[in-house]
Structure formats: C-alpha cells, structure tokens
C-alpha cells in the first residue's frame, strides 16, 4: 500500500525524531446525498422523471415563481423515516426546515430548503463488511450523525465557447436525503465498502435508485491526516465522486497527497477538491474558496414536521406513525448474510457476493428451494464462478443477463443428475443467454452436450489416453498419484469434455492397477 510506504519513509526522517515512532493516521468522513425515489418533488407536484427534456419537469414553485409555497411530500418523509430506521437512527418527533442562502443560477429561490437545526433523524450506525483485495474480510461500524431531508438544486450548463450559461431546472427541488456520517473511516476501501452497503440497504428499502451515474447518489468525502495522539488534521473535502470505484481511488489518492504534503513540510489547507476520474487525481476547486455564511433561517412556510413515535400507533392523514413504517422494513443485507451463513452454511465471502448481487441471491434462493437435495456449494459455485464470471467477462451487468432462474435450475438439475457435466453446464450459459426461452434439455440434445457415463465407451477413451500418455502413466505407477489428473485431462480432451469424470477416475484407477 502506498500510504504504508509513506509512513515508513516519514518514520525514518531525522527531522521528526521526536515523532519518529508516532504513526500517521488518515481520517475519512462521508456525506452522502441520496435522491429519494419518488413520483413527485419534495415540495411541489412536479414529476421527477430522469432524462425528461430540459426544463419540462418544473412546477411554478421549482422555478421560484413569486407567491408559490412549498408543500411537503409525505411519501418522501416516509422514505426518509424508513431509511433512518434501517440505519438504526433515532427519528425525531419534531423536525424543522431551514433556508440556506447562497446565490447560484441553478438555485432559483436564492436559498435551499434543508434541515439544519432539527433534522428528521440522528444517531444511527451502519455496519458493513470491508473487502480489500488480498486481505481478510472485516466488519466496520460507522456512526450516522444525521439524516436530513432537503431539495436538490438545478443544473447549470456552461458553454465555454459561447461564454453562455444555461440552466435546467428539472433537478431543482428533487427530494434528497443527506446522510452525514462520522469521521470513523480510515481508508478509501472502507469508504467504498460503506457506500456499497448503503446502496444495498437503500435499494432494499426502494428509497433510492442508487444510480451514481445518474447522480441519484452522490458522495462527498472529508479527509484529513494526523499523527497518533494529535488532534485531527485540517481536512479537505472531495466532491464529484461519480462511482463506487472512484470513492476508493479518490480517497486513497487524497490521503496519499496529504501525507506527501506534510512529509515535505507542507500544510494541508481547508479546501474543496474535485475528483478527476480520467486523470485519477483530486484538483482544488477555485470557486469554493470564499468562506460562505449561509445565513440560515427557519423556513416560515412549512410548519414543524411532527411524527408519531408511539409504539403500535397507526398513520393518519395528518400524522405519520414511525411504528407503522418500521413494519414495512424488509430484511436488510446484513441479516440476509447471517441467514445465508447459518441456514445454508455458506462462508462469509459467498454470502457477501450473493447479497451484493441481488439477482444471484434471488436465483440462489429459488434454485435451492426447488432442488433441496442439491448441495448449496454446487449452486453457489455455479452462480458465482460460472454465471457471474461469464457476465463479468462480457462486462455485462448480471441484472441484464437474460437467463431465468428456471433455466439455471434445469442446468443444475441436469448437472446434479449426471446428465451433463460441469463443462457442459458452463457451455450452456452463453447458449441460454442468447436464447433465454430455450428448453435446457433440448439445448443439451441439440448441442450434443450429454455426459458420457457408459462404462464401455469410457473404458475405450481411457485405454486410448493411457496409450497416449506412457510417461505420465509411468509416473503414476511409481506413486505420483497426482499424475492421474493429467491422464484424466487427456480423457476429457478425447471425449470432447463429455465424459463423466467420476466414472473416468474409477476406470483409470482400475485399469492402471491391473497393469
């Protein structure tokens, strides 16, 4: 790891003799803006359709037409509460809206309506597995300090050549949840893992599409470095992180940049930086240098938002019941992982992969249900090692793979009943992908994929293989038992990967013993 290298280099610097043994620590905190999946905007009746023609999803309120007033979207509040509950937050009985003022062309009111003084919810926690390539999986918990509702801004489009700015207000007023996490992370990988888990949770709740490429989920990272025992260092904020992969890269880059900076005797300045995904570096953003005073003020057009916290209460027209909403929370990803490990005896890695890919999980559960005798290991191996790898190789999102759970079940059934072998099962994947409605047994027949288990045929292949591989046979007979696999491979080749390997092994062992 790069940061590790720098720590070592620093520790050996004579200048820092006193601090020589003190390690450098990186501290990362995330702020996530998640667009709430909703048919209409947070305070207006306008639709929210992504990709609608410019300036067509704009209510009078969204364009700040004088005299218009905000009307809070109940559905958005419910989504916010569900998300808060799923993240273990305390939902506040009374929350309030505030105006945050700044001039920007895509902010028609001159202020954003947000929740500064009393947010919808506070004090949650997110616990998630951290996967770093080549390292053991570990769990991390990060505090969720605040979850607040707020409006999104519009979009400015700058035409540098014509020196013109154009504004699209379709996004203005879209509902956002801002989630402010505590500075509890240390690395880019941890940050990326947090966001991955958050996305899984939000998707389960259906409160956010989490499509980062559409801007439905946006991540800002606050990053600082300090020496062990010292107070936290001056932080920078990295914005415009557009993908999960970028989160890890941008944060790792920024940590290294800061460590190199202080190693050279430099000072980190409090600034906003932007992640350039092409050049893979963070760049200081010029227009954010001036310290803003947002002149917060209570939003006078929205009464305080009250919710009913009484256990067992029901929602009414005027009051949302938190207890009633808590009953609508589905099984959360971590619970699923635990269930997979306990009930199906899957290992942690497998459980994590299945939960990360909701489609695979769906396939797994549907297949194991209809084929209860099938060892789960066979199913997960096939889904992960074969199906998922196939999709990855084609850069195909598993969600876009057309193969149905039923087809997969038929393949595995054929595999389990020795009708086909694993090789054939693998060959069926592309065939099914291009022809998703095809009948599996038909495909097996048409493509001549049936496994050969007939003893005589197999013995013939075995004899041929033995004849072809005299040296290997010799080695085997001298006691090198592993050499048998080479002969097995030869049989596979001779039979066009169709021979039943179990039978082949038995046959070979018998033939070679008899010799």
């Amino acid at each position: 790891m790069g940061s590790y290298m720098i720590v070592r280099r620093l520790a050996t610097q004579p200048k820092l003799a006193n601090a020589a043994k003190r390690k450098w620590k990186s501290v990362v905190g995330l702020e996530v803006h998640a667009q709430i999946a909703s048919a209409s905007k947070l305070f207006s009746g306008s639709g929210t359709g992504f990709g609608a023609p410019l300036n067509t999803a704009v209510a009078y309120f969204d364009a700040s037409i004088p005299g218009t007033l905000p009307v809070l979207n109940r559905k958005c509040v419910e989504s916010g509460i569900k998300t808060a509950l799923a993240l273990g937050c305390r939902v506040n009985e009374v929350s309030m809206f505030d105006r945050k003022h700044y001039f920007y062309a895509d902010l028609p009111n001159g202020y954003q309506i947000t929740q500064q003084r009393a947010a919808l919810a506070n004090d949650g926690v997110i616990t998630f597995p951290v996967i770093t390539p080549g390292k053991k999986i570990y769990y991390k918990s990060v505090n969720l300090l605040q979850l607040q509702l707020e409006q999104d801004s519009g979009k400015s489009l700058h035409d540098e050549q014509l020196k013109r700015s154009l504004v699209d207000l379709n996004r203005a007023g879209l509902p956002l949840m801002e989630l402010v996490f505590g500075p509890d992370l240390e690395t880019g990988e941890e940050a990326a893992s947090l966001v991955k888990e958050l996305m899984l949770i939000l998707k389960r709740l259906q409160t956010c599409s989490c499509k980062m490429e559409e801007g439905a989920l946006r991540v800002d990272a606050n990053i600082s470095v300090h020496q062990e025992g010292d107070p936290l260092g001056v932080r920078t904020e990295v914005k415009n992180i557009g993908s999960v992969r970028s989160i890890s890269q941008a944060i790792s880059y920024e940590i290294n940049r800061q460590l190199e900076l202080v190693a050279d005797g430099g000072v980190v300045t409090n600034e906003t930086r932007s992640w350039d995904a092409d050049k893979r570096r963070t760049i200081a953003m010029r227009d954010k240098e001036v310290l803003q005073d947002y002149r917060f003020m209570p939003e006078p057009n929205l009464p305080p938002l009250h919710v009913n916290l009484k256990p067992g209460s029901r929602s009414t027209e005027d009051l949302i019941s938190v207890a009633a909403l808590s009953e609508e929370i589905p099984e959360l990803p971590e619970h699923t992982r635990q269930r997979l490990m306990e009930y199906y005896k899957l290992n942690a890695e497998t459980a994590i992969i299945l939960v990360n890919e909701p489609i695979l999980l769906e396939h797994f559960e549907s297949i194991t249900k209809s084929l209860p005798d099938m060892p789960t290991k066979v199913v997960t191996n096939f889904l992960i090692n074969d199906l998922l790898s196939y999709c990855n190789k084609l850069s195909l999102d598993i969600a876009d793979c057309a193969i149905s759970a039923n087809a997969l079940r038929d393949v595995l059934k054929a595999l389990h009943s020795d009708q086909i072998n694993l090789q054939a099962a693998r060959q069926l994947i592309p065939l099914l992908h291009t022809n998703p409605t095809a009948d599996v047994s038909q495909l097996v027949k048409e493509n001549n994929l049936e496994q050969i288990s007939d003893l005589n045929t197999i013995e013939a292949y075995c004899r041929e293989a033995i004849a072809n591989q005299p040296k290997t046979v010799q080695q085997y007979q001298k006691g090198k038992s592993k050499a048998l696999y080479a002969i097995v491979g030869e049989v596979a080749k001779l039979s066009a990967q169709k021979a039943n390997m179990k039978v082949v092994v038995e046959c070979l062992e018998r033939l070679l013993k008899n010799k």
Binding site: I65, G67, L69, H101, A105, N109, G110, F296, D318
Partner: protein
C-alpha cells in the same frame, strides 16, 4: 353619484336577482369612474377586458337564475402583490414591472369561482414595504378625503394597501383585497374611512401572495361595511392544500346577528394602556374614549388591561421583517423572471446589476440589514432573540384572552388603529421609511406578531374632515365575535363613507 353604492353587497346581488341592476352596467360604471378618479391613483392596472367579460358571464348566470354565490357580479379590486393569471403583478416595483403570473392566487381564484368581477390591480408601496403607498413606481396614491390636491398638500391614503383602501373609499369597487403584515390593510382603512380586516393568521391562504414576511402576512379585506367584509371573508377563508400554514380545520361561514339581536351585556372589553402612546392625537384619544363609553353604556364591561411587551413589538417586527425580506428577495435575480440588467459580464454582475436597478432604496436597505442580522455571528443576538420577544408579545394577548381565572378575561380589545388622521403627504414624505413605519405600525403590528384577528372601523371625522378609526382585536379564530362587535359599533356611529365622494367632487370643482 351612483345610487347603487348605497347598497350593501347583499342588496346589490339581490338587485341583480330581481333585475333592477345589472352586473355589466355596474362594472361599466366602475371602469368609467376609475378613469374619472385617476388623480387618486388607486389602480396600477385596470383589467377592463377581463372585467367586462366576467360581468357578461355574471349577467348570463343571473339570467339563467344560477348565480355562483352572493358575490356574483360584485366588483372587487386586488392589491398588486397577489398573483393574477395573465394580469401583470408588479408589487409596484421595477423588479416585477413586466411579470405576468401564470396562475391565480388562491384568494383570486376563490373570488373568481364566486363570480366576482375583478376590475384590476391596486397601488401599494414596493413589495408592501411601507405605510403610505408613497413608494411605488406608479407614484403615490392620494386620499379621497384630502381637502386639497395641490402640490404636496394632499393626504396620504396610508399603506401599504393604499390603492385598495382608496378604491373602496372612492366607490370604485365594493371590496378590495389588501395584504396585512404589520397593519398594511388596517392602516389605509383607517385613513380612508373604510373597514379593514386582518383575519387570523392561517385562516386565508397566502398562496399567490408575494411575500413580505411569511410568518405575519395575511390577505386583508377592505369594504365599506362590516357585513360586506363578512361576505368577502366567507368567500376567501378556509384551508388550502397549497399553503401548509393554513388552518386545516374546515372553515365555518360567519353569520352576524342583526343589530337589534346583539347583546353586549356579557361582553368584556379590554383597553390596553400601552396603546395610549406618545404621539397619539387628542382626536383619536377622544374617539377611543367615546367608543369605550358607548360600549359601556350598552352593558359591556370595559376595563383597562396591560400588554406589557407592546413597546418592544415594533423593534422585534423590524428585525423579523428585514430578515425575512432578505431571504424572500433572494429569488429576484433576473434569471427566471423579473427585471434583468444588460450587464452580462458574469452571473454575479448580472445579479448585482439587476438587483441594483430593480429594487428601490427601502427594499435594498432591508435586504442589506436582514442579511447582516442573519449572519452566523449575529443570528442569536438578533433573529433568535426577536423570536423570543415575539413569543412574549403573543403571550401578552393569551394572558388577557385566556387567563387562568375568568375574572381577568377579556373578549375584545379596543385600541386606536393609527395615531392620527391621515398625514399630509409633504409631512409624511419628510420622514424616513423607517420612521414612517415605526409610527404608523405601532398599534397594528402586535396583532401580526400574535397572529390574532383585528379590524379597523371608521368612527367619525376629525375637525379637518378626515376619517378617524379604531381597531378591535380578538383571540385567534374569533372573527365571529370581533365582527359582531364591529358591526354594533358601526351601527351606533353611522359613519358615512360615501360622504367622501361629494366632498371630493366639491374639492375638484374649486
């Protein structure tokens, strides 16, 4: 003089039903008269075409014996800070000079649905910031009661809804909508000798009212009589899904008892001593005493009470007003609508220049002060503190309307509306906007702080021949009692609003 002006709204629509009068001829006369009385400058925009169209439709409805309501065919005027679909809504400012709203304010749509004929938009101080209707890009509105119209010797109409008050006083319409943030409806009502109601906050929708101070603004009603005022209130009041601060409870229409049915013997009137303030004219004080005596003679118990935080109110009002103004005015950047300057060197330049050109000095001063008061370092010291004192002011009212023991309770407060008769323009204009408002709003803005309803009713003429009015205030949502008492007083004092027309005619001739 148009004889039908003697009629109440109820009598007017009855005459439409029995065919004695026609909504079209009443509208036509109003339009003609508004031209004759142009010197008053009550209207900033006459929507003649739409008004005549509405009047014709009203005629048709009466012919089919299907009037929409007891307001069908009644002429009304709307203050120019209420959005009116396809009719320019300027707030009397350069900033919104060419702003034509794509929608109707709830108040306007409810009036239209009731069949009212909307004549046009009335003059006001820019963005309703003022108490004289003197700060308008269309020039000041003049008071029809003025003894003279020469040079700067005419009387101001009061403000900021001066155009609406003036239009009603001059008989140009039967009712007008104003807005009331610190007294903007009651103040000009007082000077122009008409009834001016500020309903309970949340009773009438603010949707479409271009805001001054959201937490205090209410649509106001100006009419020549209390019963007419009730007709209007019954039409515009009630919950509105578009305004989250409206009271959710369904509105029950008011019905006032006949005069001879009004019994004041169980009524408890409070006279807040703090309203007998510095600068109160002797004539207003006399009027106040006289009406208090009238009520007492009729069997009401009248006693002095105290609203101890009254003196602080005007300062609190000033802080909250400027803060909300700073925020509400932030939207005027020349991008989506409104005045856009030619300077397009940068977005910031465009904003700065558009705002510099679009707002007058009063608006700019309030924006600057408000933003200063909202700075992180000042927030607690000014805005937050002002909110606390506002609570104390509201509690003053709760303590007299809902005290722990009923012996201390009062039902209605009787106070002056304004400290004097309408000032001469020359004298008024010599003061700064800040001083104008501080004096003018003294008796009216506490009701806005507390959200309670208040009504100004004309009582008599001053020695100079100008209307002197008093204000009644009641507990929240007690418009029924407030207007019943107002109606009783109105019947006793027999103030003739229309006298102004004869006087004006005489004044113009000389």
């Amino acid at each position: 003089m148009r004889r039908h002006l003697q009629l109440s709204i109820k009598q007017l629509t009855e005459s439409y039903i029995n065919g004695q009068l026609s909504p079209l001829s009443v509208a036509e006369q109003a339009l003609a008269q508004s031209t004759n009385l142009k010197t008053l400058n009550a209207f900033v925009c006459i929507a003649a075409e739409q008004a005549l169209q509405q009047a014709k439709e009203s005629v048709r409805r009466y012919a089919e014996q299907k009037p929409l309501s007891s307001l069908d065919g009644v002429t009304v005027a709307i203050k120019d800070n209420f959005c009116t679909k396809n009719i320019a809504t300027t707030c009397a400012s350069r900033m919104l000079k060419d702003f034509v709203p794509p929608y109707d304010a709830t108040v306007c749509s409810r009036l239209k649905e009731a069949g009212a004929v909307i004549l046009g938009k009335t003059n006001m101080d820019q963005f309703a910031m003022g108490a004289g209707t003197v700060d308008s890009i269309y020039g000041p509105t003049k008071n029809i009661w003025s003894e003279s119209f020469s040079e700067d010797n005419w009387r101001i109409a009061g403000g900021s809804s001066g155009g609406s008050a003036s239009a009603v006083a001059a008989g140009l319409c039967y009712a007008a909508i104003g807005s009331d943030t610190g007294g903007s409806t009651r103040n000009p009502a007082s000077y122009c000798g008409v009834v001016g109601l500020k309903p309970t906050y949340g009773l009438c929708s603010r949707y479409g009212l271009i805001p001054l101070v959201n937490s205090m603004d209410v649509p106001g009603i100006l009419t020549r009589s209390v019963t007419d005022c009730v007709e209007l209130l019954n039409t515009i009041a009630g919950p509105d899904i578009q305004d989250s601060t409206t009271i959710r409870r369904p509105y029950k229409k008011l019905k006032l008892p006949e005069i001879d049915q009004i019994d004041l013997r169980s009524l408890r009137i409070g006279i807040p001593k703090e309203y007998n303030c510095e600068g109160l004219s002797s004539e207003v004080l006399e009027t106040w005493t006289k009406v208090a005596d009238l009520l007492e003679c009729a069997g009401a118990s009248v006693r002095q009470i105290s609203l101890p935080h009254t003196a602080a109110s005007i300062f609190v009002y000033s802080i909250l007003n400027q803060c909300e103004v700073a925020s509400n005015m932030a939207r005027y950047d020349g991008i989506e609508y409104g005045h856009r300057a030619a300077d397009e060197r940068s977005t910031e330049q465009l904003y700065a220049q558009s705002r510099a050109e679009g707002f007058n000095q009063v608006v700019k001063t309030r924006i600057l002060t408000g933003n200063f008061l909202l700075l992180r370092k000042n927030y607690d010291h000014y805005f937050e503190k002002a909110l606390r004192v506002r609570r104390l002011i509201a509690e003053d009212f709760i303590k007299v309307f809902e005290p722990p023991t009923t012996e201390d309770q009062v039902d209605i407060l009787l106070t002056p509306t304004t400290l004097s008769e309408a000032p001469v323009y020359k004298d008024f204009a010599a003061l700064s906007n800040r001083d104008q408002c501080a004096v003018q709003d003294f008796c009216t803005q506490p009701a806005n702080m507390a959200g309670i309803p208040a009504v100004s009713i004309p009582i008599r003429l001053s020695r100079a021949g100008l209307p002197l009015s008093l204000q009644l205030m009641s507990n929240n949502l007690n418009e029924q009692l407030l207007l019943t008492v107002a109606r009783w007083i109105e019947a006793q004092v027999e103030f003739d609003c229309l006298e102004s027309l004869q006087r004006h005619a005489a004044c113009i001739r000389t």
